[in-house]
């Protein structure tokens, strides 16, 4: 075989590999949607899960997932933004900055089950929070914070230095420059980063098993006492998220209709995560267009 025949063969192999990966995603999504379609109806989306009988739904799990996402993002976004601002705008080349970067790298590559164990030890036991949404939100924050800091830093670094110099030369302080000039022009990147990390958090399960817990109390949406154990909004109650529910149903459930619940839950989860992803892309394009005046 001469060099050109080999070249042609290699080209075919590369196309084959790329095609295989595309087909893989298509097959995955098709499988989940087709099976999920048969399982999902309004009752399934609203009803409570059953522990022994057939016919359970995933209503509280969907609520828990979104509420937990909100709680953790309420912590992650401000801390992550400020941390990213420090790295992009204030940090100098020194040991402290290197230490921050090493820590970010370390936190990023920590297995999420280890974060879950840390949450169990510190948030659940030491802080005395018990299995609760707050403990879960804190664990998710540990997972998501490094990503948020990095996304913020990278986005702020794409803001042209001229803008900062112009603002500083007009007599603005550094903080004013950050708040009035740098952050506003970095909004599209930041928003995309926030939504994509939200999608990641939405699917997280390993870190929540031993922090947010694997059960949900009977929720009463008419409950007006915020901190009542049955109040859906009580951040100190345990809550099983959708992702945790998928794991639990598949690995240790006693209900007869495991397949149906698993199919439906997986479809809802994947649709929400895909939704986050597509929404982030769409919003980024729109914001860029609006802010650049085009």
């Amino acid at each position: 075989m001469n060099a050109h025949a080999k070249n042609r063969l290699a080209t075919h192999v590369f196309w084959l590999g790329a095609g295989f990966v595309v087909a893989l995603l298509a097959a995955l999504v098709t499988y989940i949607i087709v099976h999920g379609w048969q399982a999902i109806d309004i009752a399934f989306l609203l009803k409570e899960p059953e522990t022994m009988r057939a016919g359970g739904g995933i209503g509280p799990n969907i609520f828990n997932s979104f509420y937990l996402l909100f709680l953790s993002m309420a912590l992650t976004v401000p801390i992550g933004l400020l941390g990213g601002i420090y790295l992009a705008e204030y940090a100098r080349q020194n040991t402290f900055t290197n230490l921050i970067r090493l820590s970010i790298e370390t936190l990023t590559s920590l297995p999420s089950i280890v974060v879950g164990l840390f949450g169990l030890l510190v948030f659940v036991s030491m802080f005395g929070l018990g299995y609760s949404l707050t403990a879960g939100a804190l664990a998710l924050t540990v997972i998501n914070l490094p990503l948020m800091v990095r996304v913020t830093e990278e986005t702020l670094r794409t803001v042209p230095g001229d803008l900062r110099e112009a603002s500083l030369s007009l007599g603005a302080t550094r903080w004013q420059t950050i708040c009035r000039v740098v952050l506003p022009s970095a909004v599209p990147g930041l928003v995309t980063g926030i939504i994509i990390s939200a999608g990641r958090v939405f699917g997280e399960a390993a870190a929540l098993l031993f922090t947010a817990g694997m059960t949900t109390p009977r929720l009463d949406f008419g409950q007006t006492d915020f901190f009542h154990p049955t109040s859906p909004w009580n951040p100190f109650r345990p809550g099983e998220t959708l992702a945790v529910h998928i794991w639990k149903v598949n690995s240790e459930a006693l209900i007869p209709d495991i397949r149906r619940v698993a199919d439906g839950s997986a479809a809802v989860l994947i649709l929400v995560v895909l939704g986050f992803n597509l929404f982030a892309r769409w919003l980024a394009r729109r914001l860029v267009r609006r802010l650049s005046g085009g």
Binding site: H4, W15, Y31, V114, L145, P146, D263, A266
Partner: protein, 303 residues
């Protein structure tokens, strides 16, 4: 600089000081968190030695009878079976996924950058966004029955775990490799073509060797992710505390061991504390991978 401004104490200077302090505090929090995780997990994990007085030889053995009384030769809390399971699944998955991931990366940078940008980039991002429990669910409902019916055994096997992990880490390998290939100077490729190389010769003899450090980084990152993955693996490997003899045998890993028993063992018992020690081992392995990646990245920069 913030200090000098603050002396004037006007409103803007106060805000500057507050803003800087908050940003500094939040950045420091990342360091504090990392230290806290290391200290707490390590401290809790090593209690297996200083509270229960178990010897390291016992912990790093193949014997696992955590609840057997002393007169029957227990308790034995060897985690080696779990460790071997973790290494087997993650290394095999990385070996399986690396060629495909690098193939995709080369396709995106050299064969068809247009399709790479328009089609494969989003596909890889979406694959990376699929939650791990969904991969586990697909493995459980498609792969496990398929293996049971066509290859034998129960289907819950090393093979199922490796395949699920291989797909999960594919996006990591593909995207990091793509970055590595894109970072190469264009002159390399031009020189190779000018000497009369075909595209395949350029890729095999010039581009891939030049991007070696970056490609290895991609594989190590993927390996680290595979090693620490818990639920997707736990759902398909059968969780039998034995070292597998074939790829169709069930096995157990560190992460699945922790997942299975952490909720069902008594706090402070030897069994429970051994699970914490497994967590410490996971943490140590994760540190090791970070160290390897740092070395690789420095090597890539130095050349």
């Amino acid at each position: 600089m913030p200090r000098r401004i603050a002396l004037r104490l006007n409103r803007n200077a106060r805000r500057e000081l507050v803003g800087f302090s908050l940003a500094f505090l939040c950045a420091s929090l990342v360091i504090i968190l990392t230290l806290a995780i290391t200290v707490f997990i390590g401290w809790k994990g090593f209690s297996v030695f200083w509270v229960h007085d178990v010897s390291p030889a016992n912990v790093f053995s193949l014997n696992w009878w955590p609840d057997r009384p002393a007169e029957q030769g227990g308790p034995q809390v060897g985690i080696l079976t779990f460790l071997v399971g973790s290494i087997l699944t993650s290394v095999l998955a990385a070996l399986l996924s690396a060629p495909l991931g690098i193939t995709v990366a080369v396709f995106m940078t050299e064969i068809s950058p247009f399709l790479g940008q328009r089609l494969l980039q989003p596909v890889i991002e979406l694959l990376a966004g699929v939650p791990s429990v969904v991969y586990g669910y697909i493995g459980l409902s498609v792969l496990v029955p398929f293996i049971r019916e066509n290859l034998g055994g129960t289907g819950f096997s090393l093979l199922a775990g490796v395949l699920v992990l291989a797909v999960m880490i594919l996006p990591t390998i593909a995207s990091v490799s793509t970055d590595a290939l894109r970072a190469l100077p264009g002159t390399l490729k031009e020189a190779a073509y000018a000497l009369g190389s075909t595209r395949w010769q350029t890729i095999r003899l010039v581009l891939i060797p030049a991007a070696r450090a970056g490609l290895l980084t991609a594989v190590v990152l993927a390996l680290a992710r595979a090693f620490g993955e818990a639920l997707a693996v736990q759902m398909v490997i059968g969780n039998k505390r034995e070292i597998p003899h074939s790829i169709l045998d069930p096995l157990i890993t560190l992460t699945s061991g922790i997942t299975m028993d952490m909720g069902y063992t008594v706090q402070g018992s030897l069994w429970n504390d051994t699970l914490w020690f497994m967590g410490t081992v996971l943490l140590a392995v994760s540190f090791f991978f970070i160290f390897v990646i740092r070395v690789l990245v420095n090597k890539g920069v130095a050349r």
